[in-house]
Symmetry: C2
Subunit: 301 residues, 2 copies
């Protein structure tokens, strides 16, 4: 067990380094005018994110034998989209959070106006990067357009942004399990699924492989959220680096609140098993994806 | 003169109808879940915008003999990007405006959180539309990617968003003419230039035609802003439908403040002449572009 976790940690560390170094190359430098804005964009991108979406994208690409060089722009673009969504979610008009990953949130450092614009800038930067033909490598224009479409759709008003609207609306209300799953499959699940699907597409997956990986992505995305809800209740603040119990305090519906703690753990475990069984058609190339699914659940149990 | 204006008004009316009807088709319906979000997105898109950017795009396309059918998705995408920027600019943390085109601003109707997300949704929707291959018509994937790149770059942190940051930062400060022109060439000029360049590109312009149209776009974009500054001082509230003199009240630098009213009018007139002379290589197909340049200035003089 110790050996297995050690290997996964090595894998994650290596991939995070690759992604971080590519993000540093692709983002405008902090001195690019207007410097205050670009500093603010970089502040949130390099505020200690775990790079889950880019790493899943790289792992899906490798599972089908693809070259990760070709997908680094897409991997960085999805992290920019994820970071923009965190900056906007943390705003006073939204979740009003002062801390994120143990650091002051963007608007606490740069002010609300700049935070809104840094989010806008990062979202737009993702599409600048995805449409920059000098980064395409072996990727065809058709595939680049499909990547843009997948990432835009999963992060827009019928994806991530839609999930956030329903989440805000549900605050302080009693909601049922289908509504909670709607929120999570949209707010976080859609972009995780897109990470996997883009990795599969750019890795050269067959239809069957792509379908299997999408099933994995759906289950893993939801499992991740169930685990996050559990963590919000059981983890120590120092461990997670954000305000603990805020979901409860804010009257947000969570899996433990709807299913009880053991019910939520059971749901997480079911989702992990679904994620794992969808990988049955793959050999050892899918090992990172298998271990990531286990890791998601283990950290909450 | 009456006859000339009448013809331009007919041209604008016809194009606005084409754009409005395409926007209605391309935007998610107001009943699409989450309905509150999609209503809010539609509210601002259909709040009486003059569609200047899409109309300039269509006119540039027609100037080089292109088919406007092929550019309707791009024309609608640029209007979505423009509308998102207005929603975010109006927010309490930014310009804090209650009225826009005579109507309550998005956050006054839907609340601040939804307004932020409606802006995010519209920006993302633009890229969903631009990457949707079922709308491409005769446009190649390479050209579609170039359009995405032009629109993203002009609206991002080194374009429109960057201009807004410098504009916010300049509030209440004494700034010089180069800074004021930086603000306007980025905040409004970049997207107007992109409208023209995309119209030229998708219309099949030669390099020489594209270059001439870009010169037109740069001059017309800046002329538009100078005229807007003049209007802010001289127009009646009822005529413009927004709070008049707000720029002055807020301590924003304007062309009339830096150059005096007659100096600003002279600058607007110079820019119009630059715009017109860049169209010298075109025959009557560029008449709408010529008349639009005149119209921009006439409304402020």
């Amino acid at each position: 067990m110790v050996n297995k976790e050690w290997q996964l940690q090595d894998y994650l560390k290596e991939k995070v380094q690759i992604v971080d170094s590519a993000l540093d190359r692709y983002l405008p430098e902090g001195t690019t005018l207007p410097a205050f804005l670009h500093e603010s964009m970089r502040y949130s991108v390099f505020a200690g994110g775990k790079r889950i979406r880019p790493v899943l994208m790289l792992a899906a690409c490798e599972a089908v034998g693809g070259e990760i060089e070709n997908i680094l722009p897409a991997a960085c673009a999805i992290e920019m989209i994820h970071t923009y969504s965190l900056i906007h979610d943390d705003l006073p008009a939204m979740d009003d959070d002062d801390l994120r990953r143990g650091n002051p949130t963007n608007h606490k450092v740069y002010g609300e106006a700049t935070a809104i614009l840094a989010g806008d800038g990062l979202l737009t930067e993702a599409f600048i990067l995805l449409s920059n033909s000098s980064h395409f490598g072996d990727v065809s224009p058709e595939a680049s357009l499909e990547v843009i479409h997948l990432l835009a759709k999963s992060s827009g008003s019928r994806g991530m942004v839609g999930g956030q609207v329903v989440d805000m609306d549900a605050e302080g209300k009693e909601i049922d399990l289908p509504t909670l799953e709607y929120i999570h499959t949209h707010k976080t699940g859609a972009l995780i699924l897109a990470a996997i699907e883009v990795g599969a597409l750019l890795g050269g997956a067959s239809d069957k492989q792509r379908q299997a990986l999408c099933q994995y992505g759906e289950a893993a995305g939801l499992a991740f959220q169930v685990a996050d809800d559990i963590l919000d209740i059981v983890a120590e603040q120092s461990q997670l680096g954000k305000d603990i119990g805020r979901d409860q305090e804010r009257g947000k519906a969570t899996y433990p609140a709807l299913l009880g703690l053991s019910g939520a753990r059971q749901r997480a475990s079911e989702l992990r098993n679904m994620a794992l069984s969808s990988l049955n058609i793959f050999d050892d190339s899918a090992r990172p994806l298998r271990e990531i699914a286990g890791f998601i659940i283990d950290r909450s149990c």
